[in-house]
């Protein structure tokens, strides 16, 4: 057969048809544009979001590293050097602490030595400002203003000196330090960074788990569980050593799966949007294609024509979408971020990320979607004979006509109200073309599901960091003198007067003090010996045998604490215990709980045994408790010694010691995050003579810190959710409007036989509501299931799965409003032309 060169004519016809039916072409171009825009923005803004999440983790962790190891031997160092997967590693070693200054007896400031790699490479991204340089000389320190203030120093600058008593290992002495640099940012701010020379003179060793922190940064972003396990095995950890992967490294594969899931749903949204519009547009043009067939155009030529039209529409839409996406991603988002006043530090400078792959992916996905979406309608156009095409109505479904449905039922009833008839007609519109209705519902549901998923993740992100203490108190106040080495310096700073004043603060609903008494646990073979043996094996470098005699003879050299807790604390502890303990026996002082302290002891090793304690400095004053079990909650530890921390009822401690020291108070507010109450509490504490000796942690402070670390992550996340929700809505609007336009003849017929405009509107609104209802059912079942799956795969913080009520209710209300208003508006649009116009069309 000779080649029929009809390219020119097809090209001309494709171009002309786009021009002649401008409105229809514009709708299709808009659909492609929106899809390309959605994919491009979601990928770009999404990539930025996850970079920011990484930055948040860097900030919260104080540096860019994937794993942290406690204590590192020379052998392990050389293993790391030989490991090709490791990009860099650095030492971050505890070198002591500031014991006191002339202005503050309890500064709680650490001394840390960071090696060159750690300071210059690993910690750099978490810093926002550095002035001066890292210490080189033995007396030099790199400080933060926060740490200086904790010591009571104000207005010191680089080059200034200050004097403080510091402790390091067994040494404690006064020293004058020179400030070589000041830094600000995220990480360990309550510390003075010291030089290598200083660290060396303390006699501490990075191999010691109490001092050496070894930060490891891997080359790859994704580290599978298997790779993590292999690395941990290769390090041949000692019993005391611990190696943890940071949250985002440990869960990197799962996080990626989650992102892939989101991308997939986004692609589905794009596909549905284009498919719906293409299908409706081509279906609406079937008569035109019938006419072309009548004048002799072959099926192949029609396919070619449609393909060309798709190519033109796809090209224009894609270019527009990518341009719009670029504008929003690179101009709108940064300017919004700027206007929000969010500051990005030098280390964490984040511009909206772009990767050529994103452009390629957008082009590819949209192109494929246009092709697939156009194939089915093209097939319909070709399959339709010229005569059939003349009578073609897009919404008619031949199969449905064979069934009688509920007509008999209605007939039997005799009288059908107009409302019931309209309701039924609306229902039939949905059920007569289940596939189309399904696609409309699915496209709406896809948008809503993504919205649900992102808001759930964002809400949990916002929620996860602030529940930092066991009983979820709003504030925990600590006795700073507890850090003192000398027993006489550990004093009662929270006496009854302070407690009464705190209780009197308006806005405080509960104060929960924890008290303790210093004790010794005399040696005995049954329990104390077993415990100490295990303790030495786990935590000590010297064998138990070297010190057991000293322990037997001078148990005062091995102090510990007897901690008193309230009934409420006990109930909370018991709820998470492996084996719950009898409450009456615990409260009466018959049984106690022990803090496990990381030992490899099981409950069965200790239950049935008893533990005896003696008052510190008074061996004759003893008390024995049956051991109820072991607990891992470290909120109930005061002074951690070698022997166990014994947890008993507060009344028992008060009976045992004359004046047990309150070392911590949990405070709950009537309203969460009540800044006024927090300020009132702080003024009560500051007014006390011991006002400088307390420290505190609060949810408000924690929230502030996390929000600062998060930067504009939340805004970006909300941006993605809104873009997707908007696309979902636009998809619905486009589809529904297209659907109503394709039914305008049918609606005109109904009006001609007496259906009022109000009744038509009512029918269309009911249809809209049914679509909304269907979409919510799909979102409720499939959307929630997908959200749960994605959420769990990304939930490394381990927070419970809670669907955020407010955004969901808002989304439901908005979707109902849209589902109601779109049909009404679409009807107004077709109503303008009047009935006769359409009746004429029907008569053609």
């Amino acid at each position: 057969m000779l080649k029929n060169n009809n390219t020119q004519v097809l090209k001309r016809m494709a171009g002309r048809s786009l021009k002649s039916s401008r409105r229809q072409s514009a709708t299709m171009i808009l659909a492609v544009l929106l899809s390309a825009f959605m994919l491009f923005s979601v990928f770009t803004v999404g990539m930025t979001y996850f970079k920011m999440q990484r930055l948040q983790n860097i900030r919260l962790g104080g540096g860019e590293y994937d794993a942290i190891m406690y204590g590192v031997t020379d052998e392990q160092l050389s293993t790391c050097r030989e490991n090709p997967d490791i990009l860099r590693f650095g030492v971050h070693a505890l070198s002591g602490y500031i014991d006191e200054t002339e202005y503050d007896n309890t500064p709680e400031v650490m001394l840390i030595w960071a090696d060159e790699t750690c300071w210059n490479e690993i910690m750099a991204p978490a810093r926002e400002r550095v002035e001066g340089r890292y210490p080189v000389e033995e007396d030099e320190v790199m400080v933060t203003e926060y740490a200086l203030e904790k010591c009571g120093f104000h207005g010191l600058n680089v080059g200034d000196t200050f004097t403080a008593v510091y402790g390091a290992g067994a040494v404690k002495c006064e020293k004058t330090f020179r400030i070589s640099g000041i830094w600000e940012g995220f990480g360990e701010k309550s510390a003075f960074y010291v030089s290598e020379k200083f660290y060396e003179q303390t006699g501490l060793d990075p191999a010691d788990v109490a001092s050496g922190r070894f930060l490891i940064d891997f080359r790859q972003t994704l580290i599978s569980q298997e790779e993590q396990d292999t690395f941990i095995d290769s390090m041949k950890l000692g019993k005391q050593q611990r190696l943890f992967f940071t949250a985002d490294s440990a869960f990197s594969i799962q996080i990626l799966t989650g992102i892939a899931g989101l991308a997939l749903v986004t692609c589905l949204c794009a596909y549905l949007l284009i498919y719906n519009i293409m299908y409706l547009s081509v279906a609406g043009n079937i008569r035109y294609y019938g006419l072309l067939q009548t004048i002799g155009m072959t099926g192949r030529q029609i396919c070619g024509l449609i393909r060309r039209q798709m190519f033109l529409i796809g090209g224009i839409g894609l270019a527009g979408g990518v341009l719009l996406g670029s504008g929003v991603s690179f101009l709108v988002v940064p300017s919004v971020v700027k206007s929000l006043g969010i500051h990005m530090g030098k280390g964490g400078e984040i511009a909206v990320s772009f990767h050529p792959l994103i452009l390629l992916l957008t082009l590819l996905l949209t192109g494929i979607t246009v092709c697939i979406a156009g194939r089915k309608p093209a097939k319909t156009a070709v399959m339709c004979s010229p005569m059939e095409a003349l009578g073609f109505r897009p919404s008619a479904d031949v199969k449905r006509r064979g069934r009688l449905g509920g007509s008999r039922h209605l007939e039997r009833k005799g009288h059908v109200s107009s409302s019931a008839r309209i309701w039924r007609m609306a229902k039939e519109q949905i059920t007569k073309d289940k596939r189309k209705a399904g696609i409309v519902m699915l496209s709406l549901a896809a948008g809503m599901s993504v919205f649900l998923c992102i808001t759930t993740i964002l809400t949990s992100q916002a929620r996860r960091e602030y529940n930092y203490n066991f009983r979820d108190f709003d504030m925990v106040v600590k006795n700073g003198t507890m850090r003192k080495e000398e027993q006489e310096k550990r004093v009662q700073i929270f006496d009854q007067t302070v407690l009464d004043r705190l209780d009197a603060v308006e806005g405080v609903s509960e104060t929960a003090p924890l008290c303790y008494a210093e004790i010794t646990v005399p040696w005995e073979p049954e329990f104390a010996d077993m415990w100490m043996r295990e303790f030495y094996e786990t935590w000590m470098n010297i064998p138990y045998e070297d010190e057991v005699e000293e322990y037997k003879e001078f148990p005062e050299n091995f102090g510990s604490s007897l901690v008193g807790i309230s009934k409420a604390d006990f109930e909370a502890l018991n709820a998470v215990s492996e084996e719950p303990v009898d409450e009456a026996e615990f409260l009466s002082g018959k049984t106690c709980l022990l803090y496990r302290n990381g030992l490899e002891l099981k409950n069965s090793d200790v239950t049935g045994k008893s533990v005896t304690c003696a008052a510190y400095g008074d061996r004759a004053h003893t008390r024995t408790f049956d051991i109820g079990g072991l607990v891992d909650v470290n909120d109930y530890t005061a002074l951690l010694g070698y022997p166990p921390t014994i947890i008993v009822s507060e009344n028992v401690v008060k009976e045992f010691a004359d004046e047990p020291i309150i070392y911590k108070i949990g405070i709950r507010y009537r309203e969460e995050y009540d800044a006024k109450t927090e300020a009132a509490i702080l003024s009560v504490l500051d007014a006390d003579p011991h006002g400088k000796d307390y420290s505190y942690e609060s949810r408000i402070e924690m929230k502030r810190e996390v929000e600062k670390a998060q930067g504009n992550m939340m805004e970006i996340g909300i941006g993605i959710a809104l873009i997707l929700a908007l696309i979902g809505i636009m998809n619905y609007v486009n589809t529904f409007v297209g659907n109503i336009r394709s039914r305008r003849v049918e609606i005109a017929v109904l009006e001609s036989i007496g259906m009022t405009g109000r009744q038509v509107k009512k029918m269309l609104i009911l249809e809209g509501l049914l679509y909304a209802g269907g979409a919510w059912v799909i979102t409720g079942i499939a959307g929630t299931a997908v959200t749960y799956k994605i959420y769990q795969s990304m939930n490394y913080a381990g927070t419970g799965f809670v669907i955020p009520a407010v955004p969901c209710v808002c989304a439901a209300v908005i979707s109902v409003l849209i589902c109601v208003s779109v049909p009404a508006a679409a009807y107004r649009d077709i109503e303008r032309k009047g009935i006769v116009e359409y009746i004429k069309t029907a008569s053609l």
Partner: protein
């Protein structure tokens, strides 16, 4: 004196088409008596369908008055016109315009149900019987022949006991035999149910079956056989 079911006075309908003004109706005075069967004939574009649309309240005149069953349509709102149509007018279109998703019975009673009225089942059954549709009452329009669909459209037009039936080329899509069959039945039911009928056609043979023929040309009535105006 017999009263007029339909009366138009100086009826004009002008359309603007680019720079030109098309006079679809240009001062039509037209009347139809109660229970009369009138055929309006004319060439394509003569204005016959426009006249029907005006009488049926589907379109509004540029000038002039339209009275149907004693009511002036010109002052009615869209909603009032819709209610007027379902209570007073029964339409029969060339392409039947049945709702494809409803079966024949449902199509027939649809205007009554939309009005929230109780369906007179005996009356509807009688119409279906006369129009030979009893067997097809539960069939869907797509499964019926053209003649059967048009008979269903006639049944729908009659079911709400309207004041007037307006038929726009009801035989236009049918073959000659079916066309005559449908026309015969329309004439029978109009007589049996004492209906007034205005029929638009360009087919002289079909028009001959009416009591009176009105000829329309260039938007104006031309006097002819049995003219009553």
């Amino acid at each position: 004196m017999e009263s007029n079911m339909v009366e138009t006075r100086g009826l004009k309908k002008y359309y603007r088409l680019g720079d030109n003004v098309v006079k679809a109706l240009d001062g039509v005075d037209f009347a139809v008596r109660e229970q009369e069967f009138v055929a309006v004939i004319g060439r394509s574009g003569s204005g016959k369908s426009t006249l029907l649309h005006m009488v049926g309240g589907l379109d509004t005149p540029t000038e002039g008055e339209v009275y149907v069953a004693g009511r002036d349509l010109s002052g009615m709102t869209k909603e009032e016109l819709a209610v007027f149509r379902r209570r007073k007018v029964g339409f029969i279109f060339q392409n039947y315009n049945l709702v494809p998703d409803l079966n024949i019975y449902e199509n027939v009673v649809l205007p009554i149900e939309l009005d929230g009225k109780r369906v007179d089942r005996e009356f509807v059954e009688e119409i279906l019987e006369v129009l030979k549709l009893t067997e097809k009452r539960e069939a869907f329009p797509g499964n019926l022949s053209g003649g059967q669909q048009q008979r269903a459209a006639i049944a729908r037009a009659l079911a709400s006991k309207p004041a007037i039936i307006l038929a726009d080329e009801p035989t236009g899509n049918l073959d000659t035999a079916s066309g005559h069959d449908v026309m015969g039945l329309l004439k029978v039911v109009a007589k049996q149910f004492q209906q007034t009928v205005v029929l638009i056609t360009h087919d002289q043979d079909i028009a001959q079956m009416a009591d009176r023929i009105v000829c329309i040309e260039d938007g104006q009535i031309r006097k002819g056989r049995g003219l009553h105006a």
